[in-house]
């Protein structure tokens, strides 16, 4: 019944890259692994694994501290990674690149260090209904502590930001706009340029949660003109436990440190402490050096393929998956914005997403099921959970065929044939 996958040139080209990912060459429950949970965490190519291992085997020591050779190598590797990230984002300076544990920590840093000291009762932080919990809870924490208000911009039935609604909520009380660049639950790409322009026109700085965007688009924070940009290594084919906060230097400079410890100071006495300069002011304690090295290798890897090529191929996969899944009776795609990253969130009549997740796993297909840490989005669409298939450039049309066939079989099983 299923339309056979029609490999074209792009498919064949991208099939080559798949071999770079050792983890993909395995069977799950006797079937070849179809890893379609890339929005939760992507897999690492051998180039990243090798870079992490080479760092551990040949360079590891603490950074910014020792005069011995290994400490210098580790510092060079770590600061080299920072420069690699700067280039990737097209930031002006490495002083604007803060290494964090991930997107979540980056947003919390801005919430605690930028927002909290500034917020007065009646001030507002403007987010949207599309946000991941990591871009909701840190703002709830600081607004609760300061008497400020969290204001939520509406979304449309297709899962887009309601730009008029957003504009109406921007006010002279708004102190910060914090929005996803790409929705993790639905895949919607937000019109970030317009958002930044609207906010800046009122003098409001903008933080973008780029966790779901960096794996899919070439990024230029200077062109985008955002004030803060956060992303994670592990969604960009890099390691877990490493992420980045880009911040406009003038803003970072004026912010107090948020964690105290080693490396973030210049001098300490019990009377007073002089804080280190950017970016070290925000990096207390020994960082995840090997993670930063791995992230830099991941950036090298995706840029060698080309993010524009990746985006174009993933767009084809998204179109194919949408078409295949849409044909299944009782299947409802949640999130139908015209501009989407390569993921499909859906429900299947009569089959709870968790049952679907178990059934697909038995067929070797890994998808995410649940609320995707975006419970307000689920509430908006009136569903407790969805199934989400998210695609990377190493996925194939044949895997999407298997996904669609397996979803169809699950429906048949639950209907009693």
């Amino acid at each position: 019944m299923s339309a056979a996958a029609r490999p074209d040139t792009a498919d064949l080209e991208f099939a080559r890259y798949r071999a770079d990912f050792p983890i993909l060459a395995q069977r799950i429950h006797g079937r070849p692994l179809a890893y379609l949970d890339n929005a939760a965490s992507s897999q690492r190519p051998r180039a990243v694994l090798d870079a992490e291992r080479r760092y551990a085997e040949e360079m590891h020591a603490n950074v910014h501290r020792g005069v011995h050779t290994l400490s210098q190598r580790a510092t060079d590797a770590f600061e080299g990674a920072r420069e690699r990230v700067r280039l990737f984002l097209n930031a002006r300076s490495t002083r604007e690149i803060i290494f964090t544990r991930g997107t979540t920590e980056a947003i919390n840093l801005v919430a605690q260090s930028y927002a909290r000291p500034r917020l007065q009762p009646g001030d507002e932080i403007l987010i949207s209904w599309l946000e991941h919990h990591a871009n909701i809870v840190p703002w709830q924490m600081v607004t609760a502590a300061t008497g400020a208000r969290l204001v939520v911009a509406p979304i449309t039935r297709r899962g887009e930001l309601d730009l008029d609604g957003f504009r109406d909520l921007l006010s002279d009380r708004t102190r910060l706009v914090a929005l996803a660049h790409v929705s993790n639950a639905l895949g919607t790409v937000l019109p970030v340029r317009e958002i930044v322009e609207l906010a800046h026109a009122r003098g409001v700085p903008v933080l973008l949660d780029g966790a779901q965007a960096v794996p899919h688009f070439a990024l230029d924070v200077r062109a985008l003109d955002c004030d803060f940009y956060a992303f994670s290594g592990h969604k960009l084919y890099g390691p877990t436990g490493i992420g980045v906060l880009y911040g406009r230097e003038s803003l970072l400079e004026a912010m107090p440190p948020w964690q105290g410890g080693g490396d973030m100071i210049l001098s300490v006495s019990f009377g007073s402490t002089t804080y280190n300069t950017l970016p070290f002011k925000f990096e207390a304690g020994t960082p995840h050096i090997g993670g930063a090295v791995g992230l830099a290798a991941a950036i090298d890897y995706v840029e060698a393929i080309g993010l524009r090529r990746i985006a174009a191929f993933e767009h084809e996969l998204l179109g194919y998956a949408t078409e295949r899944l849409d044909r299944i009776e009782g299947l409802r795609i949640v999130g139908t914005a015209p501009a989407k990253a390569s993921l499909v969130s859906f429900t299947l009549e009569g089959v709870h997403p968790h049952d679907l997740g178990t059934i697909l796993d038995q067929d070797g297909i890994a998808i995410r099921t649940g609320h995707h840490c975006a419970m307000p989005v689920m509430e908006f669409f009136g569903v407790p959970a969805t199934a989400r298939a998210s695609f990377a450039f190493y996925n194939t049309r044949a895997e999407i065929d298997r996904l669609a066939d397996s979803v169809g079989a699950a429906r048949a099983l639950f209907r009693g044939r």
């Binding site: 429950h29 009569g350 089959v351 709870h352 997403p353 968790h354 049952d355 178990t358 059934i359 038995q362 099921t369 649940g370 609320h371 419970m375 689920m378 407790p384 959970a385 099983l413 639950f414 009693g416």
Partner: protein, 147 residues
Amino acid sequence: MDLKDLYRDVILDHNRHPRNFGPPARPARSARGHNPLCGDQLTVYAVIDGDIVRELRFDGTGCAISVASASLMTEALTGKTVAEANRLFGLVHDLLTRADAPAPPELGKLAALSGVRGFPSRVKCASLCWHTLQAALAQSAEPVSTE
């Protein structure tokens, strides 16, 4: 693991047509169970007369395993004493978590849940209603609602 072992006909049937679904007409002890990981939400209502479970009902949303487990539980425990209900809870708990646990005849249709133990990530789905029932039974005052 075989999927047919997890999704046995009894499970699929109770998922499609849950028994004792919806709150009872008379006052009942109730408790809400929530699995934050997957968003499953169940409310279990127990009408207790002396030490007899006169009526046991539930409602809420969840996957097939959690709905079928709740439906089977309400069927199995209605008319039982609280002590018998607790004993069955122990047997089901063993059935779900111990690879070598036998399915004694007194489990009846509840034995259909034995396939769940092959799927460790789903054990919580099957046990949610049972823990919720324990919470409902632990309430001393009647009627009590957590709403």
